[in-house]
């Protein structure tokens, strides 16, 4: 049976891991490769690196990071952040990335999804969507939730799927950083509407939140950062509780 995936997310700036609490306060949490290696040993099923480096050297920095990860880690990983053109994606693929995640570049130029899927296959293209509620609507936001767009979240996700997204990473900005649980209502709505895997993100604070999101929404994977980085939730413990709740998870080799 296909296992539900647990995905730690590492925010990386200038080659170092950082975690934003609501994307604003940054705290250094170590060397990304070492952290990644530790997570893979603990039983993480996949890793996501979000590069928030904002210099002209960024592509080079990202390629170096991806190569170091690919040399040492034996599980799949995704890299996101500032991927704006085919050449960025090509460089990351050749450095060993399994998938890339695009967010604002896709919102600004939706045809970029088609181009990436055509060039590299849908399995390589994760479309990350940051959503925030405005009134009774869920609206796609950019820049870590600061800038609202005109797109309604479900409409945009369906468009991304039809253009060639292979997976959706949905982050609820209302929940992100709160540790009050995932946005199960929206996640269920989205997961029922699409035919591609959905990764839930934003709001993980306790083991029960992971049980809830899998039971209530049937999403394929959950992504979290700080609860893992600061050891508040250990992946082996989390998987044991999921298993006790009859949620299929991967057992790792001794």
């Amino acid at each position: 049976m296909l296992a539900k995936r647990i995905i730690p997310c590492l925010d990386v700036k200038d080659g170092r891991t950082v975690k934003g609490v609501n994307f604003v306060d940054l705290r250094d949490a170590g060397d990304p490769v070492e952290l990644a290696w530790n997570y893979s040993r603990q039983g993480a099923d996949e890793l996501v690196f979000l590069d928030i480096t904002a210099t002209h050297e960024r592509r080079k920095t990202m390629v170096e990071l991806v190569k170091s990860v690919a040399r040492q880690i034996n599980i799949p990983f995704t890299i996101g952040g500032g991927i704006n053109e085919i050449a960025d994606a090509d460089a990351l693929l050749n450095a060993g990335a399994d998938k890339i995640s695009i967010n604002s570049a896709a919102v600004r130029n939706p045809a970029f999804i088609d181009e990436l899927a055509k060039a590299f296959g849908v399995q390589f293209v994760v479309v990350a969507v940051d959503t925030k509620s405005i009134g009774d609507k869920n609206i796609v936001h950019l820049n870590g939730g600061r800038i609202p767009t005109e797109k309604e979240t479900l409409d945009w996700i369906l468009e991304a799927e039809s253009r060639g997204a292979g997976e959706i990473l949905l982050t609820s900005m209302n929940h992100d950083g709160t540790k009050n649980g995932f946005d199960n209502g929206l996640l269920k709505l989205v997961n029922d509407a699409v035919h591609i895997p959905v990764i839930a993100s934003g709001g993980a604070g306790s083991v029960q939140h992971f049980v809830d999101v899998f039971e209530k929404t049937n999403v394929d994977a959950t992504l979290a950062a700080s609860v893992f980085h600061y050891g508040e939730i250990l992946i082996p413990d989390l998987k044991e509780i999921l298993r006790q709740n009859n949620i299929e998870v991967r057992t790792i080799a001794e």
């Binding site: 893979s40 190569k67 296959g121 849908v122 399995q123 790792i252």
Partner: protein, 216 residues
């Protein structure tokens, strides 16, 4: 393919001596950085194969492959290596699309393939409960005894990402996985092996499988 070339230079200049060495068939279908990185971590010597003479240097071969099976087949045809590949008697391992190429046909691009296995590669049917691509860790169940799965318990998880699968066949399926229906997670005929999952991304068990292949 800068990253690949760096590896190629590092290894093809010092071909492994007898008793070791995996030749990776180079035909431009997808990235192999993660595969070569895994072989390096495991201490398995490897090099790249570009032409017929290169085959002699190695004891076994890997056919990698990512992306579109029809496009991959077209690229493989352009290398002119197909008659040689079909005549190989040393162990050959196809990975993902590299495995699909060993079958007779793929629905992807309505493509005729190598036909080393007289079975077909089909697309997963759209279904609300089974998303496509089949993405993530799924359990594999060996159907036969094989050195490829030595020290890998039945029911172990491997990492899959694919929209097309090889049909289940009692003669050729070496291990099976269930996703919507039962399909071939791996196949075996004589010296030819194929795995649909990515051993280089499948944690410890994936590494065990690569090590097993290096000893067949």
């Amino acid at each position: 393919m800068v990253a690949n070339n760096q590896n190629i230079l590092g290894h093809s200049e010092t071909p492994p001596s007898r008793g070791g060495g995996v030749g990776i068939i180079s035909y431009g279908a997808g990235n192999i950085f993660s595969l070569t990185a895994a072989l390096e971590r495991l201490g398995i010597a490897y090099g790249m194969i570009y032409n017929e003479e290169d085959f002699e240097q190695y004891d076994r071969y890997i056919i990698p492959g990512v992306g579109h099976a029809g496009a991959a087949m077209h690229k493989l045809e352009q290398t002119g290596l197909i008659p040689k590949i079909k005549s190989l008697t040393k162990p050959v391992l196809g990975i993902c699309v590299g495995m699909q190429l060993l079958t007779s046909y793929s629905e992807e691009g309505d493509s005729k393939l190598l036909n080393l296995f007289p079975i077909r590669t089909l697309r997963f049917k759209d279904s609300p409960d089974y998303k496509v691509p089949h993405t993530g860790w799924n359990t594999i169940f060996p159907e036969k005894e094989s050195p490829l799965f030595e020290n890998i318990p039945s029911g172990s998880h491997f990492y899959f990402v694919h929209s097309y699968f090889i049909e289940y066949d009692t003669a050729y399926t070496l291990s099976s996985t269930n996703y919507n229906s039962q399909f071939s997670a791996s196949i075996w005929r004589d010296n030819f092996y194929g795995v649909q999952f990515h051993p280089e991304k499948s944690g410890k068990y994936g590494e065990t499988l690569l090590t097993n292949f290096s000893k067949i």
